[in-house]
Amino acid sequence: MTAAAAGPSGIVVDLADHFNNRGLSAVEGKGSGGFNVWSNTFPAEQLPAPGSEPVIDGVRFRFPAQDSGGADNLRCAGQLVAVPQGRYEWIHVLAAAERHSEDFVYLHFADGAADSEWLRVSDFWPQTPGQFGGREAFRCTVLHYPRHVQPDMAPVIWRHRVPVPREADLTAVRLPDNPAIHIFAMTLLDPR
């Protein structure tokens, strides 16, 4: 985990209602998830506790807890995520992709306006460099396969950010229909 640079900040967005994929697993349940199409998962033991609030580069996130269906991340499928109405400059995400990828999000504002911006996310796959200027948030030392734990594979969850250039109250974010992109957590940063 990257240490906090200053006092943590940010408005945490609750994504739990949108979770639709299980990307983390405990060793004893490594066959229960499927972050990618090969059914690999991140080792939950090496990541923050469910529901905890790790601070990454000064930004506070809420690390996902499994919902009642066992999902712990959002695989992008065009979801409309409501956010606490307010002025923000950046949308930070903890995210990872099945091969690095980019797509449009639509930012919806209280006055009825909507702008498209880019969401760009690096690959979770081990031995793969980050892209788009994203920062490594969590690097694990093993990768879970359904029937074994692979010791020399180190998957990564990244921190990326989306700008909010319009100086107006943001109300919602429409995510892309791109199942290669997974989001674990989202935090909004205001102009202060």
Binding site: E98, H100, S101, D103, T128, P129, N178, P179, A180
Partner: protein, 331 residues
Amino acid sequence: MKTVLAGVHPWRHDLAGCLHACAATLLRFHGIPPLDALGSAWSFYYPPDDYRQEEYYFPCSPGRSLLSALAPYHPVRSQWYQPADAAAGWEQVRARIAAGQPAAVAVDNFYLPFRPAYHDVHANHLIVVYGFDDEAGTARVLDSVPPRFNGDIALTDLTAARDSSNPAEGDRDMFFADQRIGNRWLAAEADSSEPPGRDRVRDHLRRNVSGFAAAVPHQGMAGLRGFLGGMEERLAAGEQVSDELFVVAGTALAVTALHADWLMLGGRAYGEPAWTELGRQVKRIAHHWTAIRIMAALTRSGEVPVGRLRHRHRALLHDQECVLADMAEVS
């Protein structure tokens, strides 16, 4: 006898797979810059039902070798060999290496101790063999795909991996199983190529634009449109298209991503910001292919219905038409 060839180096692009990794290693061995060879051409060609469940599948037009299809603007060629049995398979590869040339060999990951699939699942893969030690009973292999491995393995393991029937078992690695390995191996040949240059970049851009416009069956924009439309029609009719679309999208993703990087490298090398920007536009097309590849896999369970796929296809085709129009102006 014991030998390890010099000049064999790992190479990997994160939007490509083992085929481009092996091809790059072999090209570099022959003194050809990998990205220039593998990234200068941008095209689409795929005749329906041509795909095979191999991680190293690549559609080749009639009469064209695999390496020539990957690097059509360079004087390179390759030949697949299919030995009669495992003994002949090693004899041929050993002779190739003893003569000073590395070989790419098809393997089943199930039998390779350094692969995550070892004794877990079967998957058709490609690695480079470039040395051996008869007395120790080992072969020197290079696999640039994570977890990267560059070292000696027991010849018995390599032989088992090459001689595997690669059966489809269970519900994992569904894309690259059920295709016999058959001890196949690939030999690459290359002549000396022209050095890269500004005029050559422009010439390649013109040829790429022209290729996409050509009215050749299964090729260019018309071929791409036909392929994607065909996938939609078959999915709507209830057919499984996940394997074919996943494999073909993987090849298109690799070709497109490498071309994007080649353009951006050219932009930097020759002080042409317009090429860099064009490369970034092409990278956007690669990202469409990434989405399509995963969508393809998710059509299997019904998670991605034809409407979602069609929407993505439409976006890719639109963006690619725009890129090609800009490319025509720049070249």
